[in-house]
Amino acid sequence: MMGYVLAVAGMRDGKNVTYLPAYGAEVRGGTANCTVAIADEEIASPVASSPEFVVVMNKPSLSRFQNVIQSGGGLFINSSMVDTRPVRGDIEIFEVPANDLAKDLGNGRLTNMIMLGAFVRKTGMASLGTTEQAVQEIFEEKGKSIVKQNKRALKAGYDYMG
């Protein structure tokens, strides 16, 4: 959902976007992942062998994806869930205690929007405004309260990086 919101936000910013989920044999709590490409030019391949940024929500994902990041890129870690850190020195690391922040907001399921808020603030891949707009669009059918909670989470992550 995090990647999907980001892709929609990129689209609303007038960029070319692709969103490619990993499908098939992924399990909850495992290394389910997706790839989002946002570009001014046409996107040749939605597959990224060396992405600029990676967001990891759990420990298995950190071990799987830490080494694919481009040198000089960025890694966002959900520090509530991941207690180890990569040994690479050529990337910038951003720690976000997403589960703790979500608990403060009173809903443990908001971690992904918190991470996304932190992500857009640091990377500028999409503005907060269009990301909020994307949340509005995507969660609208689930009700006003869901939209509100997700926007709050987005803002909390955004502010945490401030």
């Binding site: 999907y4 976007v17 490619l20 989920p21 098939g24 040749a44 391949s45 939605p46 597959v47």
Partner: protein
Amino acid sequence: MRGNHVIGEAAIRAGCHFYAGYPITPQNELTEYMAARLSEVKDGVFIQAESELAAINMVMGASMAGTRAMTSSSGPGISLKQESISFLSAMELPAVIVNISRGGPGLGNIAPSQSDYFQATRGGGHGDYRNIVLAPNSVQELADLTMRAFDLADKYRTPVLILGDGMLGQMMEPVEFLDPKKPGKPVSKEWTLTGANGRPSRIIRSLLLDPTVEEEHNWKLVRKYERIIHKETLVEDFLLGDSTMAVIAFGTAARITKGAILRAREQNIKVGMIRPITLWPFPSKAIQEISKIIKHFLVFELNTGQMIDDVRLSLEGRGEVHFYGRPGGIIPTPLEVSRVIASQYYQKRLG
């Protein structure tokens, strides 16, 4: 929207009223979309069949009744459908069949691959027939070509295959749907089985025991195929103007190639691309024309070399053909392909 959903939505907008399918990754979202969406369409029918065999035969029945009908699957399931694709061709019944293909042979894997090129373009089933095969390379084209598939199927009374892959089916991109010229309006069909009410009874069959009758039927199909070759071949060319080398690729591979060519051009490598959009009919004429100017071709496929046969047949020796391919569901990056382009380009001293 997600590619698989886009195919479903485009089908509905093209007037598809009947879908039968069986779950297989990576096309399940299409089946699920049709289940939800056809329930909103008046007289829409969705059936989760007991097998891919049953699914395509249900489509055959609906097609006999004059309904726009579709089924979808992936490699292994498409293999099961081949018997009936042969029957559909023989009985001249329209149908749209979607293959969101995966790595093979056998169960293979669920990663994107182009290993079903032969199966799609050579008919796949028994007997002397051809299918129209459309090869989209973006989510937008999934929409456009799906709508076109229904029109072609009705126009020529023939099954039309859409050959995508797991990447196209799973990825999300922005999409705009064309307004179909006649949304949902059935074309005039003088051959459907609707009951012999106020007209003589009709037969739809493929059994032609008399060899002279079967031969005439075969030639009739050939004349139809020649009309299709003449009128419906689609090809895109990309930056060929000043090129001394052309990459030939379709679908996902073509998309990667575009990125590779743009990289190569940053190094002043004069390379362009020919992208067959219809795999059958194959754009042989276009390739022959281009071969008057460009003599070096690199075929890039996500398999071990299938379309390259058609390229060679098209060129009839008028050009040098090289191949780069990755099978098994590996997706090379534009960088990797640009390096292959560069090495060919400099080895052949085309710069």
